[in-house]
């Protein structure tokens, strides 16, 4: 029976339920807490009903605005890409790990670089002390990139490279290795992270000031649109924003607003929106609050589709469809009782899958202690395979669509994100907001609030402030010694003696020339790479022209 005024009947029935059923229960046995909140601190009601869902039913999957997914068949057509981030030590050691992951059924590679590479420093720079090969693989020059992909046919795989400030240099190296293998750049596929805004906001691996950094990114947009059309030119990342302590909403809002900023800069650089936006992808954190995360992914697709159509007039469907990678939350892993991390990761991965992730990395149980062992990395991959093959959740598209709670959270996420967009627009865009330190402050506040709620015992982290074991058995970890560092240092010396240094100097000069003017920097960079210039040398050349960014420290 339909009620004459929509919602009236159920409102009445909820009021009746509260009076007749709930109140007597609460009198007998009160709830465990006065307020229930998500891990982001968002209050959660006891019960959601159709009255909370103020919008009509979301359109079906594959239909604008894609809240329920970008593919009409969900995972029935194709599973997500199981892409495990890996890299440590020498290029040879990482090459071995890649071959092992591919043998174990991994379907894409994902390169973790060490800090000197990420910061555009050669291993012999004073700040590289102790960092070479520690958090990822050390890649100094084309020679290392050749070693990294030895025996792996780049035309047959897709590779994701987590590289930001020196993204153009590393990407150029990858392209030259592909060229050496005889691959056609036009068919080559993969992703570079290349998201500098979140570096200023959260992870702080920046080199150049914001504006020249943005120019490097628009250079890549232009270059790829013409030369490497299937490459994902940027992976706009909320992951690091969340790891830095943001709420789920802040992650969503800042990431999408970063995306909007890149689109605006691309258009301002003279590109047509549908020429480069289809190659923009996203990267979200899969954190612990199960439903809040699912709502975040659903809202992300919906907002992006709308903004691309309404704000930028995008027409190509591919510009409207938000594709995203996700990674389980490193920050949620505990050094205490590390086996608990397997469970956390499985639940987080499940939320990403239920939210329609297009690719996924699951963390290893030992990552609060060290870089993962091979056994731990394999277990992390197996976790995804269990979800894919055994849980049954892949049989149906957007199984939580229509859940009052999830739909309400999705609507709230959307509304909250638009509020942040308005605030950032008023500041003059994301570059200006970053320069003013706005997102940085918002995140620091949220991070401190969360930490306090853990300290007060309002949020329980199992094994940390609840269910603590006093005597934990020792746990085997991967220990990275200095062998890789020593070897890379020696190689660097040899490289500088054996290569054609005159050619290196000429190519670096041409790079500076392009940087001073308006020519696309990718072409001179490719020449630097072919001459075996190092990452440090190429970045130094640009430091000379653009200077370095330094953040004003604040707490």
């Amino acid at each position: 029976m339909k009620s004459p005024v929509p919602g009236t009947e159920s409102e009445a029935s909820k009021a009746r339920w509260e009076r007749e059923v709930l109140e007597p229960t609460l009198k007998r046995s009160p709830e465990r807490a006065g307020e229930f909140t998500t891990i982001s601190g968002r209050p959660i009601d006891r019960l959601y009903t159709q009255d909370d869902v103020t919008e009509g039913e979301a359109p079906a999957p594959g239909e604008f605005p894609y809240t329920r997914g970008i593919h009409p068949t969900g995972y029935r057509g194709k599973l997500w890409t199981m892409r495990q981030f890996a890299g440590f030590g020498t290029p040879e050691e990482t090459n071995e790990r890649y071959k092992q992951l591919l043998r174990a059924g991994g379907t894409g590679l994902s390169v973790a670089f060490d800090l000197p590479t990420l910061m555009g420093r050669d291993p012999d720079h004073p700040l590289s002390l102790g960092e070479v090969g520690k958090c990822g693989v050390s890649i100094m020059s084309l020679a290392d990139m050749e070693r990294l992909f030895e025996g792996i046919t780049l035309a047959d795989i897709t590779t994701s490279m987590t590289i930001n400030s020196p993204a153009p240099m590393i990407f150029a190296m990858y392209l030259v290795v592909a060229e050496q293998q005889g691959a056609d750049w036009k068919t080559l596929s993969g992703t570079i992270q290349n998201d500098i805004l979140k570096e200023f906001i959260a992870q702080k691996e920046y080199i150049f000031p914001p504006r020249p950094s943005m120019r490097l990114i628009t250079d890549i947009f232009q270059f790829c649109a013409k030369d490497v059309p299937k490459w994902n030119t940027i992976s706009v990342s909320g992951y690091h924003i969340r790891e830095a302590g943001s709420t789920a909403l802040q992650e969503l809002a800042f990431t999408l607003r970063d995306g909007i900023e890149y689109v605006q800069w691309g258009i301002d650089a003279g590109l047509d929106v549908d020429e480069f936006v289809p190659r923009i992808s996203f990267f979200f954190n899969a954190h612990s609050d199960f439903f809040e995360e699912i709502a975040k992914y659903r809202a992300a697709r919906k907002i992006w589709a709308r903004v691309m159509r309404e704000r930028f007039g995008a027409k190509d469907e591919r510009s409207l469809k938000l594709r995203f990678h996700s990674q389980t939350a490193g920050v949620s892993l505990t050094a205490q009782q590390p086996y608990n991390n397997v469970v956390r990761t499985a639940l987080q991965a499940l939320s990403a899958v239920l939210g329609g992730t297009n690719s996924l990395h699951t963390n290893s149980l030992d990552e609060a202690l060290a870089l993962p062992t091979e056994a731990a990395a394999t277990l992390a991959l197996r976790t995804q395979q269990v979800i894919a093959c055994e849980s049954g959740v892949t049989n149906v598209v957007d199984p939580l669509g229509g859940s009052y709670f999830v739909e309400k959270l999705t609507l709230d996420m959307e509304e909250g994100a638009y509020k942040y967009f308005d605030a950032i627009d008023r500041m003059g865009g994301m570059v200006a907001a970053v320069e003013a330190g706005f997102p940085q402050r918002e995140i620091a506040e949220a991070s401190y609030r969360y930490q306090q709620s853990v300290e007060r015992g309002e949020k329980i982290v199992v094994g940390v402030n609840g269910y603590v074991d006093r005597d934990e058995p020792p746990f085997p970890i991967l220990y990275i010694d200095d062998q890789a560092s020593d070897l890379q240092m020696a190689r660097l010396k040899t490289l500088r003696k054996t290569r054609d240094n005159a050619r290196v100097a000429v190519t670096l000069e041409a790079l500076k020339e392009a940087a001073r003017g308006a020519d696309n920097t990718m072409y001179p960079l490719l020449d630097c790479v072919r001459a075996y210039a190092t990452v440090g040398e190429m970045c130094d050349a640009l430091r000379e022209v653009w200077g370095e960014y330094e953040e004003v420290p604040s707490i």
């Binding site: 702080k204 050094a335 609060a368 401190y448 420290p553």
Partner: protein, 135 residues
């Protein structure tokens, strides 16, 4: 008695400053005077900050695995400057096998992920004797 002065530093190339910032605020809220150096500090710059600020404590935040290079350097520079009285604590991802070596070289406290802020506040309060105010 003057308040305890703490330099919180991020040495090396790593930019993950969530822990450093949270602990800086927690120490400040606990009544200490906190100087945060910001990112990418060499051991030389960190020790210079300790000297300049007349600090009682240095908190090094290291998550990148470079601790076995950075810590000995900081300790050696402190000694060279006659700053042996400064308490050095490290927070971050520190494998068990390195703990004893770090303690042997003079690192007073090592705090792993998940350590309550109060534990660190208490540790500093117990280990650092507040000095008389110098007029």
């Amino acid at each position: 008695m003057r308040t305890i002065r703490v330099v919180i530093a991020k040495p090396g190339l790593d930019g993950h400053d969530r822990g450093a910032k949270v602990i800086a605020r927690a120490l400040r809220d606990a009544g200490m005077e906190v100087i945060y150096t910001g990112l990418r500090q060499t051991p030389e710059k960190i020790v210079a900050a300790v000297l300049q600020e007349d600090a009682d404590v240095i908190g090094l935040s290291i998550l990148s695995g470079a601790h076995m290079h950075i810590c000995p350097r900081v300790i050696a520079l402190l000694k060279a400057q006659g700053l042996d009285h400064v308490t050095v604590v490290v927070g971050g991802i520190i494998p068990d096998v390195d703990r004893e070596k770090l303690q042997a070289m003079g690192i007073a406290g090592i705090f792993l992920p998940g350590t309550p802020m109060q534990t660190i506040v208490d540790f500093i309060n117990q280990h650092v004797q507040p000095r008389a105010e110098v007029v």
